[in-house]
Amino acid sequence: MAGKLRTLRTRLIVVALAVHAMLLPALFYGVTFIVENSHRDIFVNDVRTHSRFLADILSSQQILDSSEDIIAWLDWLDSVFLGSNGVYAEVQNGEQRFFSTLMDEAYLDKFQEDFRFGDHGDDVYYLSMPLDMPGHQANLRLGFDESLILEEIRQTRMRTIYGLSAYLVISLLLLMLLAVRLTRPLRTLQRDSRAIASGDYDTRLSVTTKVREFRELAKDLDLMRDALVGINERLREEHAEHLATEQQRQTLQKQLHHAQRLETVGTLAGGIAHEFNNILVPIILYTDLALEDLPQESPIRDNLERVTKSANRAKEVIDQILTFSRKTVDQRQKSSDIVSIIKETLTLVRALMPATIDIQTNIDEKCGRVLVDATEVQQLIMNLCSNAFQAMTEKGGRLTIDVCDVAIDGESNDISLRLEPGHYVRISVGDNGKGIDAATQERIFEPFFTTREVGKGTGLGLSVVHGIVISHGGDITVDSTPGRGSTFYVYLPKTTLLSELPVPHG
């Protein structure tokens, strides 16, 4: 209720009512006062003038001596009843009193001289005019009916009331119409503003009205809306940019930590492997020398062969560790057709994989050449395929190998890639196995990290892959969803042959 009273429409009507309540009574009393006074003044003026005129005429008749004179006088007295609202006409000459023959007897002896309209409250205006007749004390006494004027005043008063009531009703109706027309554009602006505030930025602020101020207000508000929407959009973009930057920063920081950890582990493992290698070399060498000196039938030969076998196996592990920890470009790398190397490797993979594994390949034949150590690339693919197979051992699945040419521009690509802008061959090895959780992905390239049971893996497969990729100037990423499978992406930088270089002009 209080809220409705505070609306512009209600306030306009209340104010108008209050103004009318104050002004209309004053107007009514002012109008009726003027009208009443005017009527009364005209009446008094008329009867006085009429009486004076008649008194002057009668005075000119001089003296009342004969019956003819009296008849003439009475005729003049009768004229009072013919031409106006006269009710009383008498000539008083000393003790003599002559009345008009047309006068109602009810008015006899009612004469009380009035000097103002309404005196004595008898609805008759009585007045006396002395007749100018030397030697006579004669007076003309007349009476005029006031009730007609009072009735006219009453009617005027009623007409004024009707007129003012009609004015009040019409003005209130017009005011309500005006209030509606004034508040409608405001309501439209309010509705549209709320729509904008709730996020509907396509809403335009416009009103259909002939009131210039409202049109200008809507125009100004719409300009403000444009400015606010622009600011909002900019803030949103900046916020999104900030979030992306922050996410990128966190990713890069995580990658840095990961790389640092891998480097630390690689350095440590490489140092240990190198020492072990120094130890193993004499073991293998002297064991071989001892075997050469032993006769074939010697029972010691079998033990020494086992020593050699174990030592060689240990050397393979150490070689793998050294592969992981290697940082420099291997001298054995040479520009090779990567597609041929991959196809050769896949022939071997198909031979090793059981029938439950469906191998699908999608190889771009025109990927070009890559500076690689062919053996290491084969090892890389074998390790990735082996891992994929391990992920699908239980139920079988689909192994996909894709090879394509990609361009890294440093902006639009995956920020996790630590690659210089340029052209790369991307080798994707995917499976639809059990997938890898986020915690495992964090440590998947660390040496000796494995999720398999003890004795079922060395934990060196992916760390060797990582080492090979890094030593080739490339990078490796993994995209995996637990329960849906994993895909490893290997990026190797392409090489350009002299024959492929553009010929300089001039």
Partner: protein, 148 residues
């Protein structure tokens, strides 16, 4: 002796009371004691008070309005000029604007009227008969109105 004096006083008082209570009020037209004006017709009187030039012995009559008593003014308006107050004022106003003639001089103090009448021989005014009879230096010309 004392009883005679008392009786005389009583008779005098009764006579005075009779005069005050029993005598009907009258309004009379007055002029200066030495004025040559003997009579004016009602029409001449109206003309004079409407600002129209009225001559008596080739002298212009100067009408003075007596506004010392409201009842006297009402009797004057009703009996002498025979108009309403507003109509009379409008008429005088119109006369001043149209002809540039001065409106009748108006006095609120009756003594001032008496002095004016004594000063101007052709000056006329009206007052209660009782006041006129008491005033010195003026005379009554005619009866204008008598209480019924």
């Amino acid at each position: 002796m004392i009883s005679r004096l008392f009786a005389a006083s009583l008779i005098l008082s009764l006579a005075l009371c009779w005069t005050l209570v029993g005598a009907a009020q009258q309004v009379v037209l007055v002029t200066g004691e030495n004025s040559p004006i003997e009579n004016l017709s009602p029409l001449e009187l109206r003309k004079a008070y409407f600002g129209i030039v009225v001559r008596y012995d080739d002298q212009i009559i100067r009408p003075f309005r007596n506004s010392s008593d409201s009842q006297l003014s009402r009797i004057f308006l009703q009996t002498v000029v025979a108009t309403s107050e507003r109509a009379y004022e409008r008429r005088l106003f119109s006369l001043t604007l149209k002809s540039g003639r001065p409106r009748p001089e108006e006095f609120t103090d009756q003594d001032d009227i008496v002095r004016a009448l004594r000063k101007y021989p052709y000056g006329i005014s009206y007052m209660w008969r009782s006041d006129a009879e008491r005033a010195i230096g003026i005379k009554v010309i005619k009866l204008l109105w008598q209480e019924n």
